[in-house]
Amino acid sequence: MASQRRKRGESRVIRYIILGSWAVFCIAPVLWFLSIGFRPRTEIITPQPIYWPTFSLDAWHMIWSDWPMASYLRNSVLAIIGSVIIDLVLAIPAAYALSRYRFRGREDIGFYILSTRMMAPAIVAIPIFFLFRNMGLLDTIWALMLIYAAVNLSIVTWIIRSYMMDIPKELEDAARTDGASDLRILWEIIIPAVLPGIITAAVIAAIFAINEFLFTLLIASTKNAYTMSVALANFTGGSDGLIYNAIALVAFLAFVPVFIVVVAIQKHLSRGLTMGAVKG
C-alpha cells in the first residue's frame, strides 16, 4: 500500500516535470519575443544577444507613424468579418441539408465539401490569381473576403453539420406537425439549438482567416489589401533588414483577440478543430 502510494507520488513528479518543461518550451519563446517588441531597435541584432533590454515603446510609435498600421488592421478586420458572413450564409443551409435530410448523393456531396479543405493553396494560387486579375479585384479586400470564405467554407459547413446532427429528430417533428415549413424550422428551432456550434465555426474560420498567408501575399500589393499576417514581411528598413520589434508587436496585437475568443470557446475547440469528428 505504502509502496503503491510512493509509486504514484513518483509518477506525479515525473508528470509535472514533463508537462512543466513543455510549458516552458511553449512560453519562453513567447516571452522573449514579447521582450523584442518592447526594446529599441539597437538591442535586437547585436554581437551578443541581450536578454535584459531597456524598455522602449519605439516599435509602438513606429508602426503607427512609419507604416499604415491602421489600414492593415482595417483590412484584416473587414476581410475576416466579410468572409465569416459569407461562410455562415452558405454553410448553414448546406449543413442543414447534409444533417437533416436523406437524399441521393448526400455522402458524396458532403465528402466533396470536406475534400476542398485538402486543396493546397499553392495548387489553385495561379488560376485564382488570374481570376481575380481578370475581375479587377487584385489588391482589394473584396478578393480577400472571397478567398478566405472559400478556404474556410468546408470547415464551417462540417462543424455546423456535426452540431446539427446532435439535435433530436423529435424536436423537428413536433414543429412539423404544427405545420411549420422547413425554412421556419431551420430558422426558429435548428439555428438557436446549434448556436454554440455556429459561434465555434465562426471563431475558427476567423482565426484561419487571420493566419492566411499565401493568397494574401499574391492578392495584396499595397496598403489597400495588406493584412497583418502579410504586412509583417513589410516591416523592413531598406538596407537595415527586418525591423523585428515592429514585427513582434504586431504579432502580439493579433494574438490578444485570438487568445480571448479561444478562451471563451475553449470547451468547443477540439470539436471545431477536427471539424466535428471529436466530441470533446
Binding site: 514533463i18 452558405l90 443551409p93 495561379i126 488570374f130 472559400a150 498567408f213 479561444v262
Partner: protein, 308 residues
C-alpha cells in the same frame, strides 16, 4: 352549370397538382440548400483545376501563350528541383508530423485526468494562437538573425562555436521542423486530450482495480479507442504540413541550395518569381492528382471511421 363545372374541376385538379409539385419540391429542397455552397466551392476547385490543366499545356510568357503539348510535364519529369521539392516536403513533413504526434500523445496522456493541469491547459495552446507568419519571424530571429539559440547552446556547453544554421541542409530543415512542432503540437494535444476525456472512466477504473498500470491502461485500452481520432487529427495536420509555405517563404526561402524548398514554394517560385506560369501549372496539376488520390485513399476513410 356550364360556368361552374370548369371551376370545380379546376379546383379538384389543383389540389393534387400542388401536392405533386410540393412533393417534387421536397425532393429538390436539400439540393437547393446545398447549391450555393457547392457552386462557391466549385469556383475555387473545379475552375482553377481546369484552368491549371489547360494552362499546363502552354508556354506562358506574359500575355503570349504558345501551345507546347506535354512539354511542361516532360520538363517536370526531368527537373531535379521538382523531385527535390517533393522529397523535401516528404522528409520535413513526416519528421515533423511524427514528432508532434508522439509529443502530443505523451503530453495528453499525462494531462488529461489531472485537475490541476486542467486550469492551466490554455498555456499549452498559446503557440498555435499566433499567426504562422509571426511564428516564422520569431524562429528566424531566434535561430538566425539574433543567434539566441546558438548563444544559449554555447552557454549550456552543448556547442563550442557559433552555428551556420542557414548553410546546413540538416540544420535549416531542422529549423522548419522545430517551428512546426512548436506551433502545432498544441493542435494535436487539445484533440487528444478531448478524445481521452470522452472515454468511459469506469473501464479505466476497472482495469486499475485489476492491478493494471497507468501505462498499460493507456496502451491497451485508451489508445486503441483513440485510433479514429488520431487518424482524423493526423490527416488534418498532414495536409497543413505538406502545404507548408509561410515558414519556408520567411525563414529559409528554400535554401540552402533548395534543401528546404517544399512543393508549395516550388510552385510559387516558378509561377511568381520566374513567371513560368505554364510550368508552375503543370506542377500544380501533378500535386492536384496526388491530393485527389490521397483524399480518396486516406481522408475519406479517416473521416468515416472518425465520425461516430
Amino acid at each position: 352549370m356550364t360556368e361552374l363545372s370548369p371551376n370545380l374541376s379546376g379546383a379538384a385538379k389543383a389540389a393534387p397538382a400542388i401536392r405533386r409539385r410540393s412533393k417534387r419540391m421536397r425532393a429538390a429542397f436539400p439540393y437547393l440548400l446545398l447549391t450555393p455552397a457547392v457552386l462557391y466551392l466549385l469556383m475555387i476547385t473545379l475552375y482553377p483545376g481546369v484552368y491549371a490543366i489547360y494552362q499546363s499545356f502552354f508556354l506562358v510568357r506574359f500575355n503570349s501563350w504558345t501551345y507546347i503539348g506535354f512539354q511542361n510535364y516532360i520538363d517536370l519529369w526531368n527537373d531535379r528541383e521538382f523531385w527535390a521539392a517533393l522529397w523535401n516536403t516528404l522528409v520535413i513533413g513526416s519528421v515533423a508530423l511524427t514528432l508532434q504526434c508522439l509529443l502530443a500523445l505523451t503530453l495528453a496522456y499525462h494531462a488529461y485526468r489531472d485537475p490541476w493541469i486542467k486550469g492551466w491547459r490554455i498555456i499549452f495552446l498559446v503557440p498555435m494562437l499566433f499567426m504562422p507568419s509571426a511564428v516564422a519571424f520569431m524562429f528566424k530571429l531566434a535561430f538566425m538573425d539574433a543567434r539566441v539559440v546558438a548563444d544559449l547552446l554555447m552557454r549550456v556547453g552543448v556547442i563550442e562555436n557559433n552555428i551556420g544554421w542557414a548553410s546546413s541542409t540538416f540544420l535549416s530543415r531542422m529549423i522548419l521542423i522545430v517551428a512546426d512542432v512548436w506551433q502545432w503540437t498544441p493542435f494535436l494535444f487539445i484533440i487528444f486530450v478531448a478524445a481521452l476525456q470522452s472515454q468511459d472512466e469506469e473501464v479505466e477504473e476497472a482495469a486499475r482495480l485489476d492491478g493494471a498500470s497507468w501505462f498499460k491502461i493507456f496502451w491497451n485500452i485508451s489508445l486503441p479507442l483513440m485510433r479514429p481520432v488520431i487518424a482524423v487529427a493526423l490527416v488534418l495536420r498532414g495536409i497543413d504540413i505538406t502545404t507548408m509555405f509561410a515558414n519556408v517563404f520567411i525563414i529559409t526561402k528554400g535554401g540552402p541550395g533548395g534543401a528546404t524548398e517544399t512543393i508549395s514554394y516550388f510552385i510559387y517560385r516558378t509561377g511568381f518569381k520566374t513567371f513560368n506560369f505554364g510550368y508552375a501549372s503543370a506542377a500544380s496539376v501533378v500535386m492536384l492528382i496526388l491530393t485527389v488520390i490521397i483524399a480518396q485513399l486516406v481522408v475519406k476513410r479517416a473521416f468515416h471511421s472518425g465520425r461516430e
